[in-house]
Symmetry: C2
Subunit: 217 residues, 2 copies
DNA sequence: GTTTGGCTCAAACGATTGTTTGAATATAAA
DNA sequence: TTTATATTCAAACAATCGTTTGAGCCAAAC
């Protein structure tokens, strides 16, 4: 954190802030703390980001750019439906593992009323939903059926995120090694859970479109 | 918000803080804002709660007390497994609907490093996990198999919470009426999702214990 | 050599923060 | 009625907050 001075100051500020915001929350971290750890002067924050809120904006945009790319890659492939679910879970989990703090900061800001980033949030989430709509269509779920769409989409992404949000507390309790083996198991477990769960939903809510879903039972 | 002066000042402070914290986050809300809306003097916060952090502690404890009660009621009944899942989802969704802000503040604090509440969080989550362990055992999931337990538990509760976390953003985008009908659908959809998903997991990871799970396929 | 633009700095600013303090008021108990 | 306890108040405090400002340094361009 901030000890690699070959990086550009702007990058150092950003990465330091990502770490600190993820750990303590945006409002609990001051510009002096960020500047100190990033080894820059505090006026650099206004200079490079137009102020503290500008850091948060940059973080959220970086998250969405990266995340959207991951989703798009999976969508652009011709795979079976099971393969797509597995790929999607795998890619997302790997993405979050590599960008845990970036993800946490972004997700953490979603429910909060922060006027300066409201438009950014709406815009970015809107774009994500459009992107995922195509995936949903492939699954016999009707993206125009907003009731189901509004339920299943958030449920799935939140399931994937669950571990990472609970991890700081869970780590003290369950005495589990969160190593590669654990994450392989994580991906496999969630993929199974989703495949069966989605099959159940398609059978129940859109039986006419369930024909192209492979039978795993 | 703070306009019912028949309530005790302590209660008014607590409820006001729950609302404001849920909306903006703990650190973004100052004691003067809370006091103003609760129509009390700011020194009341130190008097009744020993300071601002004491409010957060009280909120978290209130959440856990209420939530644990909901879970316990469902666990104490002799129901089929499907009934328990349905009951649990229903009770939790209704609980969150009635205590949305209380839930949001508590869940929101989980990933953050706030030293003053670290022990409280660990203690309370530990207690919850113990309580849920009994439920898990009823489902043929082995609570001593911490890998699966650590994955499925958080995934399920996060799925249920998903809507409520995304709701502030989603509300601007999807133009859905979040009325009783929506929540009935919500409960039904998630229950279906979980039942099928759990069946898949039991078949895959604990086939020897899957005998008592009804076949929905 | 001079000018220009970009980067960095320390000091300063006005505002805000949570907590404390001692006095005043209200309530309960003797 | 008096005394003790609990509640409430406004002022004050030290610390911290994010932003700004003007100066200084450096490299590139003229």
């Amino acid at each position: 954190m901030g000890d690699d001075k070959t990086k550009q100051p702007r990058r150092r500020i950003l990465e330091t802030a990502i770490t600190l915001f993820a750990q303590k929350g945006f409002d609990a971290v001051g510009v002096r703390e960020i500047a100190k750890h990033a080894e820059v002067n505090i006026s650099m924050i206004s200079y490079y980001f137009e102020g503290k809120i500008g850091i948060l904006k940059a973080i959220i945009e970086e998250f969405h750019n990266k995340y959207f790319e991951v989703i798009s890659q999976v969508l652009s492939r011709s795979l079976t439906q099971e393969q797509v679910v597995r790929q999607l879970v795998t890619q997302i989990v790997n993405f979050i593992r590599e960008n845990t703090n970036l993800t946490m900061v972004t997700i953490h800001s979603l429910p909060l009323d922060i006027p300066e980033i409201a438009a950014l949030k709406t815009d970015r989430v809107n774009k994500l939903i459009d992107g995922i709509g195509e995936l949903v269509r492939q699954y016999g779920l009707d993206p125009d059926n907003k009731g189901v769409f509004a339920i299943v989409g958030p449920a799935i992404i939140s399931s994937i995120l669950a571990h990472f949000r609970f991890k700081p507390v869970q780590k003290n309790i369950l005495q589990i090694e969160f190593d590669d083996a654990f994450y392989d198991r994580y991906i496999d477990t969630l993929t199974t859970f989703f495949l069966y769960g989605l099959k159940g939903i398609i059978e129940k809510y859109q039986p006419a479109k369930g024909d192209n879903f492979e039978n795993h039972c």
